[in-house]
């Protein structure tokens, strides 16, 4: 019985560590920037990719119909368009307003102005776009949803936000801050473990052939293969390094002695992916999530106020 209560206490200590809100500030500012970059990257194609039948690249209505087969409860742009239609607004206008709202919510997050409201708006509008444009979504959309979902539920605002400076809010429960950080940390551990496991089970990561294929596969082939081939001896090293880095993440990121090297390595890997494959948004969101989860307190121990 005594042992059980010791375990329970340890579990509580693990799940509710007292934390400062620095990690939350990193997450908020990073996601604010990410949302703004996401919106800007889609500025010219927003209506083209997300329009309904007869106006865009592919019909948003088809994507939403397939989404409805999975669940009717997932927010989508079609809801906003219908709402706008009742108010006499055209589809293009509603899509344009949605894009502006997404950009403004990103700015709000970046500055920490109406932090919670901005986080909810950013999550909602990004989710609508990602789900309605499901045919043209990829990994970055998933990770943005994950980040914004946790941010929206976390105890905002943080001490670096404008909300705080304007005196709208005061100190939060440090253990609740620790809880949400812990959840993000555990989620990242699962992500890297499964990603690393799948790579380890593939046949092309150990000999580096998958690194070569990843770098010459259109549209990621931004480096000339004639240049890449000169570095062919590094491909197996890079392949094995990627596998070990990812599968080892949940084991080495917790230890104080290995955390720094693992975090730096994983961020370096994402910088490499961004620069060599042109996946800048994907690289940025992964770095934000990692730095928010494991960065604060890495160089200088933090103490909850």
């Amino acid at each position: 019985m005594k042992r059980l209560s010791v375990w329970r206490e340890r579990l509580m200590d693990f799940c509710f560590p007292a934390e400062s809100d620095t990690w939350l500030a990193v997450l908020r500012i990073g996601l604010g920037l990410q949302v703004m970059l996401y919106a800007m990257s889609l500025r010219d194609d927003w209506n083209y990719l997300l329009a309904g039948t007869g106006h865009g690249l592919i019909s948003r209505n088809l994507g939403e119909a397939i989404l409805s087969l999975e669940s009717h409860l997932v927010p989508r742009l079609g809801w906003l368009v219908t709402l706008g239609t009742h108010a006499g607004l055209r589809e293009e206008t509603v899509l344009g307003v949605t894009w502006i709202c997404l950009l403004v919510s990103g700015c709000g997050l970046l500055m920490g102005l109406a932090s919670r409201f901005s986080a909810i708006l950013a999550w909602l509008f990004h989710l609508c776009a990602a789900k309605s444009g499901g045919f043209v979504s990829y990994g970055v959309d998933n990770f943005m949803t994950i980040g914004l979902f946790y941010l929206m539920l976390s105890p905002l605002p943080d001490q670096y936000s404008l909300d705080w400076r304007l005196g709208k809010s005061r100190a939060r429960d440090p253990q609740l801050l620790g809880f949400w950080r812990r959840l993000l940390q555990l989620h990242l551990c699962v992500i890297y473990f499964f990603s690393g496991l799948m790579k380890c089970l593939g046949t092309g990561w150990w000999d580096g052939s998958n690194i070569w294929r990843a770098l010459i596969r259109p549209p990621f082939n931004i480096i000339d293969p004639e240049i890449l081939i000169r570095w062919k001896y590094l491909f197996p090293v890079a392949g094995i390094f990627t596998c070990l880095l990812e599968i080892g993440y949940p084991f080495f990121i917790w230890n104080n002695r290995t955390r720094k090297i693992w975090l730096i390595s994983i961020c370096a890997m994402h910088v490499g992916i961004g620069l060599t494959m042109g996946m800048y948004l994907f690289a940025f969101i992964m770095i934000i999530l990692n730095v928010a989860a494991f960065g604060p307190g890495l160089i200088r121990p933090e103490h909850a106020k």
């Binding site: 083209y48 039948t53 592919i58 669940s71 990770f143 790579k199 052939s209 081939i229 491909f235 948004l281």
Partner: protein
């Protein structure tokens, strides 16, 4: 203390869902891809995928409220899919080329058009989906929509032939021997003026 228990239960549920979805997708990849496991193990992984799908409500009818709510939550929190990026192996990519024929006999070639590199990544994902799907009807529907988008910009074209193929990548040793990426034909669809989608205007 009771409030903390609620948080703890939420954390346990969230982690359970993340791990179950990740396991399901891992088993699916193992059952469909070439891995270090022998071919005969694929049935085992299929069975494992089915088992992992059960707690996610995948065995229930689509209209079942519990399944709707659970699937809805997975989407809302961004955990509806696993994390097998570029794994276990990297497949070939796909290419879609439109051949436009005009009344004066002119022939032009077009690719799906987007404005910047970020959108090109999204189109690549769409082409992967077209290439991977086993549903011919779905493939044809998406290709027709893409053809319609090209048609809107070239309204005077009388016929569009959409050719969908796989970009076969050379291995590093093959590349050194002079082999370059090649295009392998997979499907072709012809759309004439009578197939052209009717422009619909929204109020």
């Amino acid at each position: 203390m009771s409030k903390r228990r609620v948080y703890l239960a939420g954390l346990a549920l969230q982690l359970f869902l993340i791990i179950t979805v990740s396991s399901r997708d891992t088993f699916w990849l193992l059952s469909t891809s070439r891995t270090v496991f022998p071919e005969r193990s694929k049935n085992f992984w299929q069975r494992a995928e089915q088992i992992a799908s059960t707690p996610l409500g995948q065995g229930l009818p689509r209209s079942n409220p519990a399944r709707q709510i659970l699937t809805g939550y997975l989407h809302l929190s961004g955990i509806e899919a696993g994390y097998g990026f570029f794994a276990p192996n990297i497949p070939n990519s796909y290419k879609l080329v439109f051949e436009l024929r005009f009344p004066d006999g002119r022939v032009e070639y077009r690719l799906p058009r987007v404005s910047n590199a970020a959108s090109v990544l999204r189109i690549a994902g769409l082409l992967d989906m077209i290439g991977r799907t086993r549903s011919e009807a779905f493939r044809q529907t998406i290709v027709k929509m893409l053809a319609d988008a090209v048609w809107r910009e070239h309204a005077d074209a009388t016929m569009i032939r959409a050719t969908f193929g796989s970009v076969v990548l050379p291995s590093a040793p093959e590349f050194e021997r002079g082999k370059r990426e090649s295009y392998e034909f997979l499907y072709a669809y012809d759309f004439s003026v009578s197939d052209k989608a009717t422009e619909q205007s929204t109020p």
